[in-house]
Amino acid sequence: SAVISQKPSRDICQRGTSLTIQCQVDSQVTMMFWYRQQPGQSLTLIATANQGSEATYESGFVIDKFPISRPNLTFSTLTVSNMSPEDSSIYLCSVEDPRTLYGYTFGSGTRLTVV
Protein backbone atom coordinates (compact mmCIF):
# COMPACT_ATOMS: atom_id res chain seq x y z
CA SER A 1 0.00 0.00 0.00
CA ALA A 2 0.98 3.66 -0.29
CA VAL A 3 3.20 5.10 2.41
CA ILE A 4 2.41 8.54 3.81
CA SER A 5 4.87 10.49 5.89
CA GLN A 6 3.07 13.03 8.07
CA LYS A 7 4.88 15.68 10.10
CA PRO A 8 4.95 16.74 12.85
CA SER A 9 3.64 13.79 14.84
CA ARG A 10 2.66 16.07 17.70
CA ASP A 11 2.98 19.67 18.80
CA ILE A 12 1.97 21.96 21.61
CA CYS A 13 1.18 25.46 20.42
CA GLN A 14 0.23 28.77 21.93
CA ARG A 15 -3.18 30.17 21.15
CA GLY A 16 -3.19 32.69 18.35
CA THR A 17 -0.34 31.02 16.47
CA SER A 18 -0.43 28.80 13.38
CA LEU A 19 0.84 25.30 12.65
CA THR A 20 1.52 23.75 9.26
CA ILE A 21 1.18 19.99 8.88
CA GLN A 22 2.85 18.22 5.98
CA CYS A 23 2.01 14.99 4.20
CA GLN A 24 4.31 13.33 1.69
CA VAL A 25 3.13 10.30 -0.30
CA ASP A 26 5.46 7.80 -1.93
CA SER A 27 3.35 7.70 -5.11
CA GLN A 28 1.36 10.12 -7.20
CA VAL A 29 -2.26 10.49 -6.14
CA THR A 30 -5.06 12.57 -7.54
CA MET A 31 -6.79 13.58 -4.34
CA MET A 32 -5.62 14.08 -0.80
CA PHE A 33 -8.01 14.37 2.09
CA TRP A 34 -7.56 16.16 5.41
CA TYR A 35 -9.46 15.03 8.50
CA ARG A 36 -9.88 16.25 12.04
CA GLN A 37 -10.44 13.84 14.90
CA GLN A 38 -11.48 15.57 18.09
CA PRO A 39 -10.79 13.77 21.38
CA GLY A 40 -12.83 10.58 21.63
CA GLN A 41 -14.59 11.30 18.34
CA SER A 42 -14.69 9.94 14.82
CA LEU A 43 -13.05 11.47 11.77
CA THR A 44 -14.51 14.59 10.21
CA LEU A 45 -13.45 15.60 6.73
CA ILE A 46 -12.03 19.11 6.59
CA ALA A 47 -11.29 19.40 2.87
CA THR A 48 -10.30 17.61 -0.30
CA ALA A 49 -7.16 18.77 -2.07
CA ASN A 50 -6.69 18.33 -5.80
CA GLN A 51 -3.38 19.24 -7.37
CA GLY A 52 -3.54 22.47 -9.33
CA SER A 53 -6.80 23.77 -7.95
CA GLU A 54 -8.20 25.17 -4.75
CA ALA A 55 -9.21 22.74 -2.07
CA THR A 56 -12.88 21.92 -1.55
CA TYR A 57 -13.97 22.55 2.04
CA GLU A 58 -16.70 20.78 3.96
CA SER A 59 -19.44 22.60 5.78
CA GLY A 60 -18.10 24.23 8.92
CA PHE A 61 -14.54 24.59 7.64
CA VAL A 62 -13.18 27.66 5.87
CA ILE A 63 -10.04 28.41 3.91
CA ASP A 64 -8.97 31.30 6.15
CA LYS A 65 -8.83 28.97 9.15
CA PHE A 66 -7.49 25.86 7.38
CA PRO A 67 -5.52 26.91 4.28
CA ILE A 68 -4.31 23.97 2.21
CA SER A 69 -1.59 23.73 -0.39
CA ARG A 70 -1.20 21.01 -2.99
CA PRO A 71 1.83 21.92 -5.10
CA ASN A 72 2.27 18.50 -6.73
CA LEU A 73 0.82 14.98 -6.87
CA THR A 74 2.76 13.66 -3.86
CA PHE A 75 2.61 16.48 -1.29
CA SER A 76 0.14 18.60 0.62
CA THR A 77 0.08 20.87 3.66
CA LEU A 78 -2.69 21.88 6.04
CA THR A 79 -2.29 24.99 8.18
CA VAL A 80 -4.31 25.50 11.33
CA SER A 81 -4.44 29.27 11.72
CA ASN A 82 -5.02 31.53 14.71
CA MET A 83 -5.36 28.54 16.96
CA SER A 84 -7.58 28.26 20.01
CA PRO A 85 -7.87 25.40 22.53
CA GLU A 86 -10.89 24.14 20.56
CA ASP A 87 -8.49 23.26 17.73
CA SER A 88 -6.79 20.64 19.91
CA SER A 89 -7.31 17.46 17.89
CA ILE A 90 -5.62 14.84 15.82
CA TYR A 91 -5.26 15.86 12.20
CA LEU A 92 -4.84 13.18 9.56
CA CYS A 93 -4.21 13.19 5.85
CA SER A 94 -5.43 10.41 3.60
CA VAL A 95 -5.21 9.28 0.01
CA GLU A 96 -7.11 6.83 -2.09
CA ASP A 97 -4.50 4.15 -2.37
CA PRO A 98 -3.75 3.40 -6.03
CA ARG A 99 -2.40 0.00 -5.01
CA THR A 100 -5.44 -1.00 -2.97
CA LEU A 101 -8.56 -0.42 -5.00
CA TYR A 102 -10.85 1.79 -2.97
CA GLY A 103 -8.85 1.41 0.18
CA TYR A 104 -7.85 4.69 1.72
CA THR A 105 -4.45 4.99 3.36
CA PHE A 106 -3.84 7.41 6.21
CA GLY A 107 -0.88 9.26 7.57
CA SER A 108 0.11 8.61 11.16
CA GLY A 109 -1.63 11.73 12.35
CA THR A 110 -0.59 14.95 14.09
CA ARG A 111 -1.68 15.38 17.69
CA LEU A 112 -2.14 19.10 18.25
CA THR A 113 -2.56 20.62 21.69
CA VAL A 114 -3.31 24.33 21.94
CA VAL A 115 -2.61 26.00 25.28
Binding site: S1, V29, T30, M31, F33, Q37, Q41, S42, L43, L45, T48, E58, I90, L92, S94, E96, T100, Y102, G103, Y104, T105, F106, S108, G109, R111
Partner: protein, 116 residues
Protein backbone atom coordinates in the same frame (compact mmCIF):
# COMPACT_ATOMS: atom_id res chain seq x y z
CA UNK B 1 -28.23 11.99 4.07
CA UNK B 2 -25.50 9.39 4.08
CA UNK B 3 -24.76 8.14 7.58
CA UNK B 4 -23.03 5.33 9.41
CA UNK B 5 -24.18 4.03 12.77
CA UNK B 6 -22.22 1.90 15.19
CA UNK B 7 -24.48 1.10 18.10
CA UNK B 8 -21.79 -0.33 20.39
CA UNK B 9 -19.56 2.43 21.79
CA UNK B 10 -17.51 -0.10 23.77
CA UNK B 11 -17.01 -3.84 23.68
CA UNK B 12 -14.72 -6.35 25.31
CA UNK B 13 -13.74 -9.91 24.47
CA UNK B 14 -11.58 -12.56 26.05
CA UNK B 15 -8.39 -13.41 24.24
CA UNK B 16 -8.88 -16.22 21.68
CA UNK B 17 -12.65 -15.69 21.63
CA UNK B 18 -14.79 -14.31 18.78
CA UNK B 19 -16.44 -10.91 18.75
CA UNK B 20 -18.77 -9.19 16.30
CA UNK B 21 -18.95 -5.42 15.84
CA UNK B 22 -22.12 -4.06 14.29
CA UNK B 23 -22.52 -1.35 11.68
CA UNK B 24 -25.46 -0.02 9.74
CA UNK B 25 -25.42 2.65 7.09
CA UNK B 26 -27.81 4.67 5.04
CA UNK B 27 -27.48 5.58 1.39
CA UNK B 28 -29.74 5.71 -1.62
CA UNK B 29 -26.91 4.73 -3.94
CA UNK B 30 -26.48 1.23 -5.33
CA UNK B 31 -22.73 1.18 -5.93
CA UNK B 32 -20.49 1.83 -2.97
CA UNK B 33 -17.62 0.41 -0.96
CA UNK B 34 -17.61 -0.45 2.71
CA UNK B 35 -14.63 -0.52 5.03
CA UNK B 36 -13.58 -1.38 8.53
CA UNK B 37 -10.67 0.62 9.88
CA UNK B 38 -8.73 -0.05 13.07
CA UNK B 39 -7.13 2.74 15.10
CA UNK B 40 -4.87 1.51 17.92
CA UNK B 41 -3.50 3.88 20.56
CA UNK B 42 -0.74 4.82 18.14
CA UNK B 43 -3.62 6.60 16.26
CA UNK B 44 -2.55 5.10 12.91
CA UNK B 45 -5.65 4.30 10.82
CA UNK B 46 -5.28 0.79 9.44
CA UNK B 47 -7.56 -0.70 6.79
CA UNK B 48 -8.82 -4.03 8.12
CA UNK B 49 -11.19 -5.17 5.39
CA UNK B 50 -13.07 -3.86 2.36
CA UNK B 51 -16.32 -4.96 0.70
CA UNK B 52 -17.67 -3.96 -2.68
CA UNK B 53 -21.44 -3.53 -2.57
CA UNK B 54 -21.93 -5.29 -5.89
CA UNK B 55 -20.34 -8.47 -4.54
CA UNK B 56 -22.61 -10.87 -2.69
CA UNK B 57 -19.74 -12.86 -1.24
CA UNK B 58 -18.62 -11.65 2.15
CA UNK B 59 -15.03 -10.44 2.35
CA UNK B 60 -12.52 -12.21 4.57
CA UNK B 61 -8.99 -11.29 5.63
CA UNK B 62 -7.39 -13.92 7.83
CA UNK B 63 -9.14 -13.67 11.24
CA UNK B 64 -11.41 -10.85 10.06
CA UNK B 65 -14.63 -11.41 8.13
CA UNK B 66 -17.75 -9.42 7.43
CA UNK B 67 -21.44 -10.17 7.24
CA UNK B 68 -22.73 -7.89 4.50
CA UNK B 69 -26.51 -7.63 4.22
CA UNK B 70 -27.17 -5.12 1.45
CA UNK B 71 -30.94 -5.03 1.76
CA UNK B 72 -30.68 -4.39 5.47
CA UNK B 73 -27.75 -1.98 4.97
CA UNK B 74 -25.78 -3.88 7.56
CA UNK B 75 -22.04 -4.51 7.59
CA UNK B 76 -20.81 -6.28 10.71
CA UNK B 77 -17.22 -7.28 11.44
CA UNK B 78 -16.33 -10.60 13.04
CA UNK B 79 -12.95 -11.02 14.66
CA UNK B 80 -12.02 -14.63 15.36
CA UNK B 81 -9.34 -15.84 17.77
CA UNK B 82 -9.04 -12.33 19.26
CA UNK B 83 -5.53 -11.19 20.10
CA UNK B 84 -4.28 -8.52 22.46
CA UNK B 85 -3.12 -6.52 19.47
CA UNK B 86 -6.71 -6.24 18.30
CA UNK B 87 -7.39 -3.76 21.11
CA UNK B 88 -8.27 -0.54 19.26
CA UNK B 89 -11.02 1.73 18.04
CA UNK B 90 -12.83 0.26 15.06
CA UNK B 91 -14.51 2.53 12.54
CA UNK B 92 -17.01 1.42 9.95
CA UNK B 93 -17.01 3.56 6.83
CA UNK B 94 -18.28 3.72 3.28
CA UNK B 95 -17.71 5.67 0.11
CA UNK B 96 -20.14 6.12 -2.75
CA UNK B 97 -19.12 6.21 -6.37
CA UNK B 98 -16.24 5.16 -8.50
CA UNK B 99 -14.08 8.27 -8.64
CA UNK B 100 -11.48 9.87 -6.46
CA UNK B 101 -13.82 12.73 -5.73
CA UNK B 102 -16.03 10.94 -3.28
CA UNK B 103 -15.55 11.36 0.43
CA UNK B 104 -15.51 8.60 2.98
CA UNK B 105 -18.25 8.64 5.60
CA UNK B 106 -17.12 7.31 8.98
CA UNK B 107 -19.16 5.93 11.84
CA UNK B 108 -18.63 7.03 15.45
CA UNK B 109 -16.44 4.04 16.28
CA UNK B 110 -16.45 1.08 18.66
CA UNK B 111 -13.75 0.77 21.28
CA UNK B 112 -12.71 -2.89 21.53
CA UNK B 113 -10.72 -4.22 24.44
CA UNK B 114 -9.22 -7.70 24.31
CA UNK B 115 -8.82 -9.11 27.82
CA UNK B 116 -6.00 -11.54 28.58
Amino acid sequence: AQTVTQSQPEMSVQEAETVTLSCTYDTSENNYYLFWYKQPPSRQMILVIRQEAYKQQNATENRFSVNFQKAAKSFSLKISDSQLGDTAMYFCAFVVGLTSYDKVIFGPGTSLSVIP
